[in-house]
């Protein structure tokens, strides 16, 4: 088809013209996963069938096949893994880092305001404080590691979370008052009186937003790094599970420390088990939601709220004639331990269930697909 004279003219000085071509497109040939990729690449470099004829090939495809076959592939070391672990969240300054501190700061300001004011002013201060803290919480959950970017489905867990925090603030006092025959009026906003407020746990929880965000960021970046370095899925699961537990313990430690500090400052009894259980529950629920598992947190939170509401209702319903037996379980619980046993047990059990669930779900590789890349 093509005479040798033309062959030599086309690449002077080379007995093997394909070798020169191989040298010129070495990267392409080495990288290619099949001959068609080389063919596509050669065509993009302007090589046509008529060019291929000069290399004594019928078309580009057969030329590409020869190139593919001639690249020494097996002796090559596998190319180094590209840096797939990008920074999980590009830090927009330090905004996301400091934003979770805002709810805690506002809550502390509210507590101070409550301490300093009396009467009607105190009511206004409380209302303004609750509003400010809610807005700050929304802002803190909108961006940073606790946000859920790209997930449009919004789980309806906000009201359940509000109830749980409200119970931590008011519930123990109400339960105690209900068992002892009260309550005789609305709470007066202090830790004394017939319906005392438990401000220290709530303050500790809002302050714990910051450690929650930081530990979540820690977990996410660690998991992504493991994703890049692990060989198989089992390998990945085994290496992520300790990270998850470590994150969880770290958060609990931070929360316990915060609670100790706030209890001491506010001079309130330290409700450690109940607050830890509630904090653990909320943290795990958010962690699961952030990674796309919103169903289980919703169910568990609903069940917890229903259990707490049932405890309160049975105590109050026992006052109806003939229903005295209803309050027996809760009263036994409170007399054996304290009113705080109700949130401790409900939230503790729920947190345990979520922890088991999280350790199974969050150790899967598919939970850590980076949300920036199109899914």
């Amino acid at each position: 088809m093509t005479d040798l004279g033309e062959l030599n003219r086309s690449t002077p000085g080379a007995a093997d013209p394909v070798k020169a071509l191989l040298h010129r497109h070495h990267d392409l040939c080495l990288r290619a996963v099949d001959p068609l990729e080389i063919a596509a690449g050669l065509e993009a470099h302007g090589i046509t069938d008529r060019t291929a004829a000069r290399f004594r090939h019928r078309d580009v495809f057969s030329l590409a096949e020869e190139l593919y076959a001639r690249v020494p592939r097996d002796t090559d070391p596998p190319p180094p893994a590209p840096p797939t672990t990008r920074r999980a969240d590009t830090l927009h300054g330090s905004a996301w880092f400091l934003l979770p501190l805002l709810p805690g700061a506002l809550c502390a300001a509210t507590v101070i305001a409550l301490r300093q004011t009396h009467g009607e002013t105190r009511l206004y201060a409380a209302a303004a404080g609750i509003l400010a803290v809610t807005l700050a919480l929304r802002a803190a959950l909108r961006r940073g590691p606790l946000s859920t970017p790209g997930r449009t489905t919004r789980p309806a867990t906000t009201s359940w979370t509000c109830w749980l925090i409200g119970y931590a603030l008011l519930g123990d006092g109400l339960l105690h008052a209900a068992i002892t025959g009260g309550p005789d009026g609305l709470p007066n906003g202090t830790a004394e009186g017939h319906w005392p407020l438990a401000v220290a746990p709530v303050l500790a929880l809002t302050l714990a937003c910051a450690p929650a965000a930081w530990t979540t960021h820690l977990f996410t970046t660690h998991a992504r790094r493991r994703l890049g370095s692990s060989r198989g899925l089992e390998d990945f699961s085994a290496s992520v599970r300790p990270v998850l537990l470590g994150t969880f313990v770290l958060f609990l430690g931070a929360l316990a420390a915060l609670l100790a500090v706030t209890s001491a400052l506010l001079d309130e009894p330290s409700a450690l088990p109940g607050t830890l259980a509630l904090g653990a529950l909320l943290f795990l629920a958010r962690l699961l939601t952030v990674h796309g598992f919103s169903h289980a947190p919703k169910v568990i939170l609903t069940i917890t709220v229903l259990a707490q509401a049932a405890a309160l209702t049975t105590v109050l319903a026992a006052r109806l004639p003939g229903c005295a037996a209803l309050s027996t379980p809760v009263e036994t619980l409170t007399t054996t331990w304290s009113p705080a046993a109700v949130p401790t047990f409900t939230c503790g059990a729920a947190a345990l269930v979520l922890l088991i669930h999280a350790s199974r779900r969050l150790s899967r590789a598919s939970a850590h697909v980076s949300t920036e890349q199109p899914r």
Binding site: R31, V33, D34, L36, E37, A39, A40, G41, E43, A44, H45, G46, T48, D49, R50, D59, F61, P78, P79, A81, P82, T84, T152, T153, L227, G228, S230, R231, G232, L233, D235, F236, R364, A365, S366, A367, V369, Q373, P374, R375
Partner: protein, 586 residues
């Protein structure tokens, strides 16, 4: 009328539907004119305003006004959806669109049996992708079976999007990669690679979750015409599987080839698995298609290479509107005899540097020659290249004046379309006696076809489909060879007679091969051929339950709609009178 898809949750990927304002029109009845209902499948093009490849679909739909079109379109992004649609002619019966970029999980959680079905089919799919490329023949069947299994699962249970993203899918991929006999690149796959492959496969298989595969959806059309290969042809493939609707695939650029060029930086495992996926999908599409129409020989060779049967291939050249060039084409003497014209979008692949060097040689032979480079830059890279070319032109050709008192001028001018005297592309070609094309890479050279319509002599480089388009009606030189380009240009500049002869031949060739009419009539013929070859899909039964022969003859495809609710247009007399025509005659 807001036709954008709604954002709420649905059972499957939601797709919007709409009947155009003209509503159902009654087409004019013609004796012997078969009436075909065509399901046009597009991806990121027609009917959206800002879509590539929308023009030929629009011309096709407008050109075939005696047929009926159902458009099934994938949009490529939110911006495109917001930009809206082109005005639709009345022969478009229905438009259904689906945003493949925004598929969300429909929340269906599989039970045990569905999960087992999914993991079986997906495992099979993964095994085919990871299998070493030597054993080709049985793999094609396995791929098709797995694809069909997944499609049936999505149609019956939904929830495929979530399942394809789930850990089950990733595990199945890992198992397949670690299995003995897996290809070498797959064995090296790491966890991020597996996730990337799973995510890409999920994206590519989103058409499986659409709610188009109903008796009144794609089941009701006579044939599916996919305007591109790859994902756009997938609904046609499924319609063929579920309802036996014949499939016609048109490819102006081969999708598989673009896939090879798009992800050069991915790890080898990802590229290898995805290449296998798209290769198998393409092969399966070609296998099931009734006809495949490549837009040029280059696409045809790729299709043959990917397993398309030669008997099914019909090259249909893209059609271009010749009317704007008619005036210029009929008056070839209007050209300036010393001017060379280059028209196109400026980018490095066009190799303007080589053209400028060639022009330097032309100037030594023909000092009066001038070069007009007409076109804007393509992207930032093109802008940088244009700047480089301007600098080179200024360096090679200093401004020169006729006398000591005249204002100087450069023999090379860079102009843009839309300027004074350059309102249309026809004006651009009209100015020069010879049109030059100096590309090193080219697909189908539309600029060259325009020059041919204008009856201009051309000198072009031998790339892409240039030789195929120009035939013997222009000069062709090797790419990256300024001297050859210069010699060819000089020979044409010195020979006005030859220029006229070549120009006239080029115009005749273009009018014969590359007009809209030939494109539309070619598709028209192919549609009729497909319908004629397709067996009747719904058997009409007589009173005793035996199949009724000739109940739906070709004449049943006459224009107009039948009130009968059966999906196929079966005439009512054929159903109600269960006596075959032969018996009546007896």
């Amino acid at each position: 009328m807001d036709n954008r898809p709604s954002r709420h949750h649905l059972f499957r990927i939601r797709s919007s539907r709409c009947e155009p304002p003209g509503q159902r029109r009654l087409p004019t009845r013609e004796i012997g004119g078969a009436h075909v209902r065509i399901g046009l499948l597009t991806e990121g093009g027609y009917p959206y305003v800002s879509g590539e490849g929308g023009f030929w679909c629009d011309r096709l739909v407008r050109g075939l006004d005696r047929h009926e079109f159902d458009v099934y379109a994938f949009s490529s992004g939110e911006a495109q959806e917001d930009a809206g649609w082109v005005p639709l002619p009345p022969q478009v019966n229905r438009v259904r669109t689906a945003p493949l970029w925004a598929a969300e999980d429909d929340g269906v959680v599989y039970g045990r049996r569905a999960r087992r079905r999914f993991s079986e089919h997906y495992g099979e799919l993964a095994a085919v992708l990871c299998a070493s490329p030597d054993s080709a023949a049985p793999e094609a069947d396995r791929f098709a079976t797995a694809l069909r299994g997944l499609a049936e699962l999505a149609r019956e249970e939904g929830g495929l999007v979530g399942a394809l993203r789930s850990e089950t899918a990733v595990r199945a991929l890992e198992r397949a990669c670690r299995a003995p006999g897996a290809r070498r690149a797959a064995r090296e796959a790491r966890v991020p690679d597996l996730l990337a492959v799973a995510a890409h496969v999920e994206r590519a298989l989103r058409p499986l979750s659409l709610d188009w595969y109903e008796e009144d959806g794609l089941g009701a059309v006579d044939l599916c015409h996919a305007a591109a290969g790859g994902v756009a042809a997938l609904p046609g493939l499924l319609a063929h599987h579920f309802f036996g609707v014949p499939l016609l695939v048109t490819e102006y650029g081969v999708r598989l080839r673009t896939h090879y060029l798009t992800r050069p930086d991915s790890p080898p495992a990802v590229r290898s698995l995805l290449a296998a996926f798209h290769g198998r999908l393409t092969a399966e599409t070609y296998r099931r298609a009734a006809f495949i129409t490549p837009g040029n020989t280059h696409a045809r060779r790729w299709q043959e290479r990917c397993g398309a049967d030669r008997a099914k291939l019909r090259t249909v050249y893209p059609g271009m509107d010749a009317a704007p060039f008619a005036e210029v084409g009929e008056s070839p003497e209007s050209a300036d005899p010393h001017t060379l014209v280059w028209v196109g979008r400026v980018e490095p692949a066009k190799d303007l540097v080589s053209l400028l060097h060639a022009f330097a040689e032309i100037r030594t032979e023909e000092p009066e020659a001038r070069l007009r480079i007409i076109g804007g830059p393509a992207g930032p890279e093109g802008a940088a290249y244009l700047g480089h070319c301007r600098a080179l032109a200024a360096h090679l050709f200093p401004d020169e004046a006729d006398g000591p008192h005249a204002v100087g001028d450069n023999p090379v001018s860079f102009e843009q379309l839309g300027g004074p005297g350059l309102e249309t592309p026809a004006d651009a070609y009209a100015g020069g006696a010879v049109t030059v094309l100096s590309s090193v890479v080219e697909g189908f050279p539309t600029g060259l076809i325009e020059a041919m319509f204008c009856a201009r002599a051309t000198v072009s480089t031998d790339v892409g489909a240039v030789v195929e388009a120009i035939g013997g009606t222009g000069l062709v030189v090797p790419p990256r060879n300024p001297r050859a380009l210069a010699e060819a240009c000089v020979s044409l500049l010195r020979d006005p007679e030859r220029r006229t002869r070549l120009g006239a031949a080029a115009r005749a060739r273009a009018l014969e091969l590359f007009t809209v009419d030939q494109n539309v009539s070619a598709f028209h013929r192919i549609y009729l051929e497909i319908v004629a070859r397709t067996p009747v899909r719904c058997l009409v039964l007589d009173g005793t339950g035996d199949p009724l022969p000739f109940a739906a003859p070709a004449e049943a495809h006459v224009p107009g709609h039948w009130t009968d609710p059966t999906p196929r247009a079966v005439p009512t007399w054929a159903v109600e009178t269960p006596v075959p025509a032969t018996e009546t005659a007896r």
